[in-house]
């Protein structure tokens, strides 16, 4: 299955909306094991995405992902800006010469995050949502339960990357904020695909 321009565009816009609506939720999660600003930063990125898409009105998926990447890189800051930015930039490059399978697309985004963050699964980062979702997509349809399971799995992990890693054992018992915003991304992907994708 490939995500065409209209669906992809709806997806990104729904994601931006979801982030804006859940800004405080993300800040609260980040206060527990970070510095409390993940929602504020992502909200700035979400607004920049909406502004950029309405201004540039991209006519292909590559430009859509590129505009999304640039908005995140330039407006989010912190670690999330480069991580989401790299994911979407790599996805943009991957579809430049023609669209690809959704599962491949998400894996490319995941690999981008791994590269930029020098991280992998089980470190209590957004990769712990991206990689399982990518795996689910490879084997079939994606439902919200998959997203929730991936997200919840971060709760019992001990952070070994990013700012939460300084808490070591104390990072246990909290949902990773970057995983929560990534869960919004994939929840809205399911919204676009429909639960029976």
């Amino acid at each position: 299955m490939r995500l065409e321009l209209e669906e992809a565009s709806n997806w990104i816009k729904l994601f931006a909306k979801k982030v804006e609506a859940n800004k405080s939720e993300l800040n609260e999660l980040d206060t527990a094991i970070g510095d409390g600003d993940h929602g504020t930063n992502m909200d700035r990125g979400a607004k920049a995405i909406v502004e950029s898409l309405s201004k540039n009105d991209p006519t292909n998926v590559s430009d859509l992902y590129k505009d999304t990447a640039f908005a995140m890189i330039q407006k989010v800051g912190g670690a999330s800006g480069p991580l989401y930015g790299t994911a979407f930039l790599d996805m943009s490059k991957a579809v430049k010469n023609g669209n690809i399978e959704l599962s491949d697309l998400i894996q490319i985004g995941t690999d981008g995050i791994k590269r930029r963050g020098e991280a992998d699964v089980n470190m209590k980062t957004m990769i712990d949502v991206w990689q399982p979702i990518s795996d689910v997509l490879k084997s079939g349809k994606l439902i919200k339960k998959d997203v929730k399971e991936a997200l919840d799995s971060t709760e019992d992990m001990v952070a070994t990357k990013g700012r939460a890693s300084y808490l070591e054992e104390k990072s246990k018992g909290h949902i990773d904020p970057g995983s929560q915003s990534s869960a919004y991304l994939f929840d809205t992907l399911v919204d676009v695909l429909g639960e029976n994708n």
Partner: protein, 330 residues
């Protein structure tokens, strides 16, 4: 939350605007960014390696307050406690590049490291020679593969001072990177908090401490430390922190430098009392302190607390620390 601000979204641009307006002979804003660059006559007339640092806001005077002849060439301010973005860092690199390359001084936080890395890639695509040094002076965090590694905290300002002095004297980019790394290796910091900082966008303190409690090993962004204990007299705190830091130095001979840094909400009075205890204790331990400094250099918004940095110096580092500079914050 009570703060003298307008809109939370406008904090950083208004902060930069205020800094620039009150120090126009010293710094100017790089158009379209929240970065500042030297604005003195000597900057436009002399060639040297550009020194760029930056990071989240809320640590003032770091970094913009250390821009000036003999320290930083430019500083990039991100949102509160949030790394600046690559496009802004890239603009700062361009503003200070005089053909001799640019050194980036980055504090070891994942966001800062990633954003500066992306900016480095952008500048290198323009054939600008870039070297990066990552400051990780905070010894309260184990430097293991299971964490991000040690954090960059108050010692950063001493790194900026020494590297800035060397750049002013004409040192090459590669040698500056080597010098900077040597300084980082010899710089150790540990901090305590009496009260957590309130991030404006959050509206309440990042963590709670009881009236008689302090937390050891805190970071500069409300990161929790390694233990919460009852408050003790300054002298006891000084002894404890010194003991922790001195363990990091195998060879305790030679000349040392000391920085007592206020976290933003601790009065200078208390900082000087602590400084008195620190210097007395170091003297008792026969540590030869040749340079010391006290003040709010690397703050954490309104956090009440203090950090102690001890550096074992080499060569002429003490002279470089003592060299006069004209900046807002030094």
């Amino acid at each position: 939350m009570k703060k003298i601000i307008n809109n939370v979204e406008d904090i950083v641009p208004e902060l930069i605007s205020g800094l620039v307006k009150t120090n126009s002979g010293l710094i100017k804003q790089i158009e379209g960014t929240t970065a500042v660059v030297r604005n003195d006559k000597k900057f436009s007339e002399t060639k040297q390696v550009g020194i760029v640092s930056g990071g989240g806001s809320g640590h003032e005077p770091l970094h913009a307050g250390f821009v000036g002849d003999g320290m930083l060439s430019a500083a990039v301010a991100g949102e509160v406690f949030t790394s600046p973005t690559p496009d802004q860092i890239y603009e700062a690199i361009n503003a200070v590049n005089k053909g001799m390359g640019v050194l980036l001084i980055v504090k070891n936080y994942s966001g800062d490291v990633m954003n500066f890395d992306m900016a480095k890639e952008m500048a290198e695509a323009d054939d600008i020679k870039i070297r990066t040094i990552v400051v990780d002076d905070d010894i309260s965090v184990e430097n293991s593969e299971f964490t991000q590694g040690k954090r960059g905290v108050a010692g950063t300002v001493l790194v900026e001072k020494i590297v800035g002095a060397a750049a002013r004297s004409g040192m090459s980019l590669d040698d500056l990177a080597k010098l900077g790394q040597a300084v980082i290796n010899n710089t150790k910091t540990i901090g305590i908090a009496l009260h957590a900082a309130t991030v404006p966008a959050v509206g309440h303190p990042g963590f709670e401490l009881k009236d008689d409690e302090i937390e050891y090993g805190i970071g500069i962004h409300n990161e929790r430390g390694y233990s919460v204990e009852k408050i003790k007299p300054s002298q006891v705190l000084a002894d404890e922190l010194i003991e922790k830091i001195l363990k990091e130095f195998i060879d305790k001979s030679g000349k040392f430098a000391v920085l007592i840094n206020g976290m933003g909400g601790t009065p200078l009075m208390e900082q000087y009392i602590f400084a008195n205890d620190v210097l007395n204790e170091l003297n008792d331990k026969n540590i030869d302190v040749q340079f010391s400094k006290v003040g709010n250099m690397v703050t954490s918004l309104d956090m009440q607390g203090i950090s102690l940095t001890i550096m074992k110096t080499e060569d002429n580092w003490i002279d470089m620390l003592k060299e006069p500079v004209v900046t807002i914050g030094w």
